[in-house]
Symmetry: C2
Subunit: 246 residues, 2 copies
């Protein structure tokens, strides 16, 4: 499959206090590129919604160096469908600087959600036939975060879901999970560490009016995260870091 490339000039509000691309915004840009690719082949958001559903991300995993992407930079957000079957579409993403050098590479599994029944449906064939790919039996697995038991040594922060956290699919946009997860680490950690890897699994959607707990454990250069609502786990993640000067 050919890469679809979205050229994009980074704005200051897509960057963090230090002027580097924000992690949540990076994933927004990836989804944007996928949407624009779909739109170009006539099966964009409008077509998906007419079929009663929307694309939803199940997991992300990959390698990240965000320090090469700054406010004002011209970057390229590239994506392509790697494999699909009746229920899953696996997409690959590559974020490159203006010279074409790749600093971020990750994969994502997408499902198609019935926006009324709020459950997974089979992917409408029209949305996927456009890709010059044959369906596969088993989708390659995106690496999952480690299974960990949360205990008293984990930090906890609570956040109320805000109206503007909700996207057009009617639930919290997955980019906000990263705000909750990173926020739990605090400014001191974020200013002295640089992200190198992400594995995240989205288990259940979060809706307007809910309160989430963001739990985090720092184990040297790996951080473990869980987002949960009152009744169930919503997402788990494992992030890897290197130390840097402030």
């Amino acid at each position: 499959m050919k890469w679809f490339e979205l050229p994009h000039q980074l704005t200051y509000y897509e960057c963090d206090p230090q002027g580097n691309l924000q992690l949540g915004m990076l994933f927004n840009l990836g989804v944007l590129a996928a949407e624009i690719e779909n739109q170009g082949t006539g099966v964009g958001l409008g077509a998906a919604n007419q079929l009663g559903g929307g694309w939803v991300v199940v997991n992300y995993a990959g390698t990240f160096d965000l320090t090469h992407f700054h406010a004002g930079d011209q970057i390229v957000v590239a994506t392509r469908v790697k494999a699909f079957n009746k229920f899953f579409s696996l997409r690959e993403f590559s974020i490159r600087d203006h010279t074409g050098h790749e600093w971020v590479h990750y994969e994502a599994t997408f499902v198609f959600m019935d926006l009324v029944k709020r459950r997974i449906m089979t992917i409408p064939p029209v949305l996927i036939e456009q890709y010059d790919l044959a369906p596969v039996k088993r989708i390659p697995r995106v690496p999952a975060p480690s299974d960990l038991v949360v205990d008293d040594t984990w930090q906890q922060h609570q956040y109320d879901v805000r109206y503007f956290d909700i996207d057009m699919n009617g639930h919290v946009n997955n980019s906000h999970y990263f705000d909750w997860m990173l926020e739990a680490l605090g400014a001191e950690f974020l200013q002295t560490h640089q992200l190198t890897g992400v594995k995240i699994q989205f288990d259940h959607e979060v809706r307007y009016g809910q309160r989430v707990t963001s739990q985090a454990k720092v184990a040297d250069l790996v951080t473990y995260h869980q987002i949960k609502t009152a009744d169930q786990g919503a997402a788990r993640a494992e992030l890897t870091w290197v130390t840097v000067g402030k």
Copy 2:
């Protein structure tokens, strides 16, 4: 003065759950256009920071109809300096759809803040000489929100400032004040009302680690807002609305 025009394709993450441009994002886009205009004349963010400061917004006022700007739309964000003196720069903003029709028009007063001393400094002449304008004695006044006394009938919500609320000026980016203000109105109000006017005054900066209280009063089709920290008022606003179907 000639308008500087920034063409921009709206992304889904700049829009609200209903798919219209978000108010906070609109102000981000305005500042972005001003920055890109400054950059084009060689006095962008880098030049400002080398002079030890950054542009900070003191107030906004204008008329707004955000329902004509949707995810995917090609829009134009236009801005120009209208007047300036030693301490203030008055900018005008016009947001237009792809046909050139203006749906949003507002003005903003900017000051230049010393980023170490955290106080207003005189505007370095090099940053303003570029504009083909003579300085004026008195800057035209941007309409201010009404002075109101907050009492027990006002709703109150508390928010902790998040690391990613902070911008490169080291304080909460003013677009987040709108999230706090609108959030206090609740989804029901936001889904049944459409914004027509904004007057907002930023009195004091808010920093990382602070907790803010967002106070709001709904008086039919006008809402009054105050954001305060533990020790002082940070911003006041008056918004006007019309009712719409859900």
